[in-house]
């Protein structure tokens, strides 16, 4: 219940922040109009007098401060959203640990695959976009930026995990971290596909954490995989990662990568271009082919 009240509080705060944003915008409107008018006047007079220069400098300083204030509020709003999401995630993990279904609907033995796929798509869609401060470079786990060598994925984080299948073949699956043993340097992960219902204990090198932010192609294109780069991508409508080449990186924040999967059933060895969300594209460690 406390989580619920906390979320309700956060939502109220978020609501107020959004209102604030609008106030802030209306306030700076006046100054922006002034800048515009000053420019017009300067144009008609066709000269840049020191008066205007000073005036403009003042106006622009105010405008910059206004914009920064608005930006600050927006960031605070984003933080609130992140906080709410992490609370929800905590609750989900707790429920999972307790073996209780958060849903009020009658429990199903396993989730229907189609539903699972929809959830995965939704999770990719709602992955937050990294909004850096000017000059700040994207952090690890933003887009294609890898995690640092000593990074340890948290409980509940989604990862690509290399597991041995029943037939002995190795494959990369989508999994969720259960725990990490610092002593053994091993992860315990759950197959996301509950039909498997298998818990795997895997060494660090068999785990690739998934991005936690989307990289914005408009501001941080360097944090995206580039064309023809070899990656591991989640094959659409499955829970497995396969080797693929980037066909085209996203153009806008909400866009997906277009990738070509390695597929021997096609004459040129690659599938036609398929869309995969940023959330499910990670760097491919192994360079040698199987």
């Amino acid at each position: 219940m406390s989580a619920d009240t906390k979320i309700a509080e956060l939502l109220t705060e978020l609501h107020q922040l959004i209102k604030h944003t609008q106030e802030e915008r209306s306030r700076s409107e006046h100054n922006l109009l002034n800048i515009h008018k000053t420019h017009e006047r300067m144009q008609t007079e066709n000269k840049t007098s020191p008066y205007y220069r000073n005036k403009l400098r003042g106006l622009y300083t105010t405008a910059k401060a206004d914009a920064e204030a608005e930006c600050g509020i927006l960031r605070r709003a984003l933080d609130k959203i992140a906080e709410i999401k992490s609370l929800l995630e905590e609750r989900r993990i707790a429920a999972k640990m307790a073996g209780v279904y958060s849903d009020s609907d009658p429990p199903r033995k396993t989730m229907r695959r189609g539903v699972l796929m929809t959830l995965l798509q939704q999770s990719a869609m709602t992955l937050p976009l990294w909004i850096g401060k000017p000059g700040e470079s994207p952090p690890p786990l933003c887009g294609a930026t890898p995690a640092s060598g000593d990074y340890v994925a948290k409980q509940g984080d989604k990862v690509a995990a290399r597991v041995k299948a029943v037939d002995g073949d190795e494959q990369w699956i989508l999994a969720e971290v259960v725990s990490y043993s610092h002593a053994a340097n091993k992860y315990e992960v759950d197959d996301i596909d509950e039909e498997g219902k298998e818990r795997h204990t895997l060494s660090r090198r068999r785990i690739i954490p998934l991005p936690q932010w989307k990289a914005n192609p408009e501001t941080d294109p360097e944090a995206l995989f580039s064309k023809d780069q070899l990656v591991l991508a989640l094959y659409p409508q499955t829970t497995c990662f396969y080797r693929a080449l980037i066909h085209a990186p996203p153009h806008r924040p909400q866009d997906d990568y277009s990738v070509l999967f390695e597929d021997t059933s096609y004459a040129d060895g690659y599938s036609p271009p398929l869309n995969v969300a940023q959330r499910y594209v990670v760097a491919c460690k192994e360079n040698k082919k199987k």
Binding site: D103, D105, P106, R108, M111, R112, R113, G114, V115, M117, T118, Q122, Y235, P236, Q237, T238, S265, Y266, L274
Partner: protein
């Protein structure tokens, strides 16, 4: 035409026709008859009207004038050698129209060709009655008109027929006989059932489940269609050959000639017996002309939409195209039942009506049987015709289809309609639902829910397509077939690509294609065997990156509905090990009901694969089924909630199932009777099959009997000490304790055995004891009690 509906339509149609004539836009629409080119000098009158005017005029002539007119067509009888077969006026009038009226040629006037007098030509008419003279004069007018037609007609086929009819009528005037078309044309009717019967069957077949009002609408449309056909001018055999690209138009030419002689020419030429096109022709003619006629009809209505009566405009513009599309399927469909001589609407009409009503909450969801029926043609059309109404309009008509109509077939003691309506209001009221959450998929959402929504939004489309050798397939269809071949060969790597190609492009195979963004993303290739009454599912696949979205289920449901429309109710398929799961989910089973002889040698046999079958139920709207069931569940949940709030009593749940009991009688559930539940009539008479269920029922019943206050004399076997001669008189003693033991020993494998023992307790008692004894009184009461209980428990009929 004794039908009031059709009569109501007639004036409107004629109005439309004359309007077409005056604007000159009527193009191919025939209003009168004779030649295709109506006389430009007299645009106001149809040829039919002109002919009858002329006849009236001629018949009003004085006798002498009439004889002169007939003389022209009468053989000279002056001598046996004279071969002259018509008197020719030696002084041809210069201004005929005025002149003829004025004075008749004298009987002595000599013929210009043979020189004999007019009297010699008309001698045979001397004693002929005025009526007969008038009849002959009518033929004369018709002959003159035909003569004009022969000259004006440009099409050789038509010209020939006019000329033949011209000669025929001339001969009849000469011989004073009745004209009879002879030759190889045969006599009407040429085919049975005729078009009218077929179309009426169609209305019955497709719309009989509708409410009376909608049925009437469909009936009107059919009448209108038939009326149009009767006055329609058919395309000439030449046009037909050009259009259909068939070298052989022989059959059509015969039909066309028949039509000219029996239907078309007689419209304005009443000397010839006239038949209605829709009465004498059947499916074969309709097959030849339907496509072009439909196009012309719709075009005509479109052009003249402003002239239609406003209340009919919607009917015609919105529903007529659909009506025609549906009819088209029945005309060209391989085994449409409407053309069968003994077509009857399925007897279970009422039951069907009830069923439809129950499963589709029509007024709420807006997806009534009718709109479904009307939209079915668009979602699954072979040629994706462009004449569909805009989707929003589909919902207009069904609104009238309220649940009120379903009332009369409701079950006694059922939940009152008002309550159901009220409940449905709450579940469909968006305000009462829980916010935007409903937009997301709940874990319980039906497998095909997303696919259904996507189809409704136009994101995905379903089309039945196939290759054809006789007709040039359009490019889009061919592209889709290639797409299908690609999807199948990628998804079914074990099938040789060449084999897939061969079957997908085989004209006998069809494929239900799933299209997204103009590209094929899945499909089911199938082959129909109408004569064998089943369809073989050949390939079935959805491209890998579009899987697990419910498309496979929705595809199969569309295929099922397509087959119900084509009256094939069995699917057979050889499923490989990966496909068995899918087919099971789609209602297939390994239990094959189709006799082996029907499919052996027809279906492609695959080694190592499992034969599976699916039987279709024509009363199920498969693509909507999961939605309907969801709705029903919601309604029932709401009803239960209401009932619970009324009763306000909570019983502990049943525990017997945990203890291994498989089934218990419904009436033994605590509190169930308070809810107003009564055992349903149907279950009462049916024999309980499950021995455990029977056992429990009997055990329950026996316990109740034993606790009855009048059961005491029968609790235990009669003691010899108390009734020494009892066992001499009663040959088959029985008592409740013995019955309990027999029950425990599972002796009562049928209810009959149990009832027999109970009855024996009573008869034994009556046999041994005097009727007014205490024992017999108890027996009487107990007998009444247990028969009541037996009825109540559904073990015997009420």
């Amino acid at each position: 035409m004794s039908d009031p509906a059709a009569q109501g339509l007639q004036p409107r149609l004629l109005q439309g026709q004359s309007a077409a004539g005056s604007t000159g836009s009527g193009a191919a629409v025939a209003t009168g008859s004779g030649s295709a080119n109506s006389d430009p000098a007299r645009p106001g009158l149809s040829q039919q009207q002109r002919a009858s005017q002329k006849k009236a005029q001629v018949r009003a002539f004085p006798r002498a004038k009439k004889l002169e007119k007939l003389g022209v067509f009468s053989a000279c009888k002056a001598s046996d050698t004279c071969k002259c077969n018509g008197w020719k006026n030696p002084n041809p009038p210069t201004a005929p129209r005025v002149d003829l009226q004025q004075h008749a040629a004298s009987l002595s006037e000599p013929c210009r060709s043979c020189g004999h007098a007019l009297a010699d030509h008309v001698s045979h008419l001397e004693n002929v009655s005025e009526d007969e003279i008038n009849r002959l004069l009518g033929m004369v007018v018709d002959v003159e008109n035909l003569f004009m037609s022969v000259h004006k007609e440009e099409n050789t086929d038509t010209k020939q027929v006019y000329f033949y009819l011209f000669k025929l009528l001339r001969k009849c005037i000469l011989q004073m006989s009745q004209p009879v078309v002879e030759g190889s044309l045969g006599n009407p009717p040429f085919e049975k059932p005729n078009i009218e019967q077929g179309v009426l069957n169609f209305v019955q077949y497709k719309f009989s489940h509708l409410a009376p009002k909608e049925r009437q609408t469909m009936f009107e449309l059919s009448k209108m269609f038939l009326l149009c056909l009767n006055y329609w001018k058919l395309e000439t055999p030449t046009q037909y050959r050009q259009r259909t690209q068939k070298d052989d138009g022989t059959a059509y030419k015969v039909d066309y000639t028949r039509w000219l002689c029996y239907c078309h020419v007689p419209q304005s030429n009443d000397s010839l017996p006239r038949y209605e096109t829709t009465h004498v022709f059947g499916r074969s003619l309709l097959k030849s002309i339907f496509t072009v006629t439909r196009r012309q009809l719709l075009e005509k209505f479109r052009v003249e939409k402003d002239k239609l009566l406003p209340e009919k405009r919607t009917l015609i513009l919105t529903h007529f195209p659909k009506f025609l599309s549906m009819l088209e399927e029945e005309i060209y469909g391989e085994n449409s039942p409407i053309w069968e001589a003994d077509f009857t609407v399925p007897a279970a009409d009422g039951a069907q009506l009830g069923h439809q009503m129950v499963i589709s909450p029509a007024p709420v969801s807006g997806s009534s049987a009718l709109s479904k029926a009307l939209s079915a043609g668009s979602s699954l059309s072979l040629d994706a015709s462009g004449s569909e109404p805009i989707p929003g309009e589909k919902r207009k008509l069904p609104e009238a289809l309220t649940l009120e109509d379903a009332k009369r077939i409701r079950v006694m003691g059922d939940i009152p309609m008002e309550l159901v309506n009220e409940v449905m209001m709450t579940i469909t009221d968006p305000a009462a639902m829980l916010g935007p959450e409903t937009n997301l998929l709940t874990p319980n959402a039906a497998r095909d829910e997303t696919a259904r929504l996507e189809e409704r939004r136009g994101i995905i489309e379903f089309h039945v397509i196939g290759n054809s050798l006789s007709q040039k397939s359009n490019k889009k269809i061919l592209m889709w077939l290639v797409g299908l071949q690609n999807v199948f060969s990628h998804q079914l790597p074990r099938m040789p690509k060449e084999y897939i190609t061969r079957l997908v492009f085989d004209p006998k195979h069809k494929t239900l294609a799933l299209i997204k963004d103009g590209r094929v993303i899945g499909g089911i290739c199938f082959r129909m065997f109408p004569t064998q009454g089943f369809t073989e599912i050949v390939f079935c696949a959805v491209t890998s990156n579009e899987q697990v979205k419910g498309y496979g289920t929705h595809l199969m449901n569309h295929l099922k509905e397509y087959h119900i429309k084509h009256n094939i109710l069995y699917f057979l398929t050889y499923a490989d090990e990966y496909a068995i799961g899918y087919f099971k989910k789609q209602g297939f089973s390994k239990d094959i009901k189709v006799p082996k002889s029907r499919y052996l040698g027809y279906i492609k046999d695959y080694e190592g694969a499992t034969l599976m079958e699916c039987e279709l139920n024509p009363r199920i709207p498969y693509t909507e089924l999961s939605h309907i069931i969801k709705r029903q569940k919601e309604i029932i949940k709401k009803l239960i909630e209401r009932k619970q709030s009324q009763i306000r009593k909570v019983y502990p749940g049943l525990t017997c199932f945990k203890e291994g009991v498989r089934q218990i009688p419904v009436e033994s559930i605590p509190g169930i009777r308070e809810t107003g539940w009564k055992p349903s009539g149907k279950e009462k008479v049916k024999e309980v099959k499950d021995p455990d269920v029977l056992y429990n029922m009997l055990k329950n019943l026996l316990a109740q009997i034993k606790t009855h206050p009048d059961a005491w004399p029968f609790m235990e076997p009669v003691k010899k000490s108390e009734a020494p001669d009892y066992y001499e008189i009663i040959r088959f003693p029985i008592d409740l304790k013995t019955m309990t033991e027999r029950l425990k020993n599972r002796y009562y494998v049928t209810k009959k055995l149990f009832i027999a023992d109970l009855q024996r307790i009573i008869t034994n008692c009556r046999e041994y004891n005097p009727p007014d004894s205490e024992y017999c009184k108890s027996a009487n009461t107990l007998e009444k009690f247990f028969y009541f209980k037996l009825k109540d428990g559904g073990l015997i009929e009420k």
